[in-house]
Symmetry: C2
Subunit: 317 residues, 2 copies
Amino acid sequence: MPEFDLIKQYFASATALDDSVLLGIGDDAAVLQVPENKQLVVAADSLVAGIHFPHNTSGYDIGHKALAVNLSDLAAMGAQPKWFTLAISAPPLPPSWWQEFTCAISNLAKQHQIMLIGGDTTASPVLTISIQILGLVAKNQFMRRDLAKIGDIICVSANLGDAGLGLAVVQKLVQLSNQHEKLVIQKLNTPIARVELGQKLVKLGVKCAIDISDGLAADLGHILDSSGVGASVFLAQLPLSASLRTQPIESAWQFAVASGDDYELCFTVAADKLKLFQANLIDYYPIGRIESQLGLRFFNENNELWTCSRMGYEHFT
Amino acid sequence: MPEFDLIKQYFASATALDDSVLLGIGDDAAVLQVPENKQLVVAADSLVAGIHFPHNTSGYDIGHKALAVNLSDLAAMGAQPKWFTLAISAPPLPPSWWQEFTCAISNLAKQHQIMLIGGDTTASPVLTISIQILGLVAKNQFMRRDLAKIGDIICVSANLGDAGLGLAVVQKLVQLSNQHEKLVIQKLNTPIARVELGQKLVKLGVKCAIDISDGLAADLGHILDSSGVGASVFLAQLPLSASLRTQPIESAWQFAVASGDDYELCFTVAADKLKLFQANLIDYYPIGRIESQLGLRFFNENNELWTCSRMGYEHFT
């Protein structure tokens, strides 16, 4: 298909990044050399038009997000991304769409020095992008969901809720100033995976992390379920952007707690490690603590139990 | 989603197959130990309802084929399959469908001793299954498309064209006896990937292979293009099943040459290696030879140049 030729063309230069790819795009499979002192980390995430993004989203934004959500999975492990495959099922689309799409993926791939090693382009009535990403960690040096310990401080890497606010703007449920609208839509469409941060956290001894794709409540919920613990989160400590602070505070908390697509990291760490973060210039926002009492509790600024009316506390991986 | 719970449940036992999986389904990514003396082989293939299989195909057949086509990619490399991820985008389907689907994948995974290590289930109006498979080869011991040498004998692993005939039966373009119909539809819906054969061929020194997914003409064409050579194929030497031989010979050749979904291997090998195949009890069917003159030529039983009227000589990977 001419589309895959276009993609190959864009990535032709990228295949020379290093000598780990013994056989790249164009055969039945790719052949890779995994360094002897490393372990392989593998994640796969799909985006479907009309489900994960509105049908009128640009090719650039779709391409960026498809790769970014996979990078974010590796960030949550503390892995270094290395290679990816790209399966696209698509209806007929104009060449300009394919150019935008491949440009976005190519830009992000270059930025993270990762290589496209294979893929598949097929016809479909519904645009579906399925990426599988492969990365590396030093032996047994990775973060996981099931290692939160009672007493750990729960931290997030940056502002929450902006992408959810962006979606509300796109859906015309909320109106903001032009500048704020631009910022939050950018957060929604071109999220930044915290790849470097993830690797730094592992080096500093952080054992437990997840990326926030389905909202803090749902994703912190995964950590709690997997670790067999509970948590209290203090809403006044949630980092909120100036854009989100334009909203009534209850509404801002709802966006921060229950809306997805932030792709920040949520991690738990023993309190005595926090000074290491400061020494290593790592931005972190402590928002709560891990407790023995099961369940996830939110407290408002008066220390009253708070219930999120929009909370979509889902349990799937 | 409850569907992925079902899939996890089916595969829960499979995760204990060996200790290569340090972290399996249920985290942001899987973590794998690749043996130090091996290289990693990666392929990805998607199936879309209405494109790769008729909408009324059973869950069992879809599950089987989705994994089999990926196994076939590794077979063509001579790799040992080890792990796979499964991304499903699906409309609402009854529990019985999911049971059949997971049963087929689980059966095939057990048969090849491969492990599901992650995945993603999302809603979509169109059923799309995207699998990425990971396997192993000994260092630099794999087959590729671009190493066909002038003088090599072109071989295929078994009968060609049955799956194409099966599709013609499903589409009611051809009618056969019940027994033949059953056989060729089985070939279409539950193909067998030549995984063991691929590994044996590598051990015997075969350097150049492809799996026949788009038809002999298209896939041998990929070998020729990649290797910068041409070929002559002698139609009288094509292995044809009794089912296909029920058709007029011209039509049988067309099925064997131009229809896809056979998932047999096509490989090229120096003539003096063929005696090794016999000694190692490998079934092979020599069908032609690699030549310096570019292009792919077919000759009928009278050694006359033959053109396939249905030939869809495609050039994509």
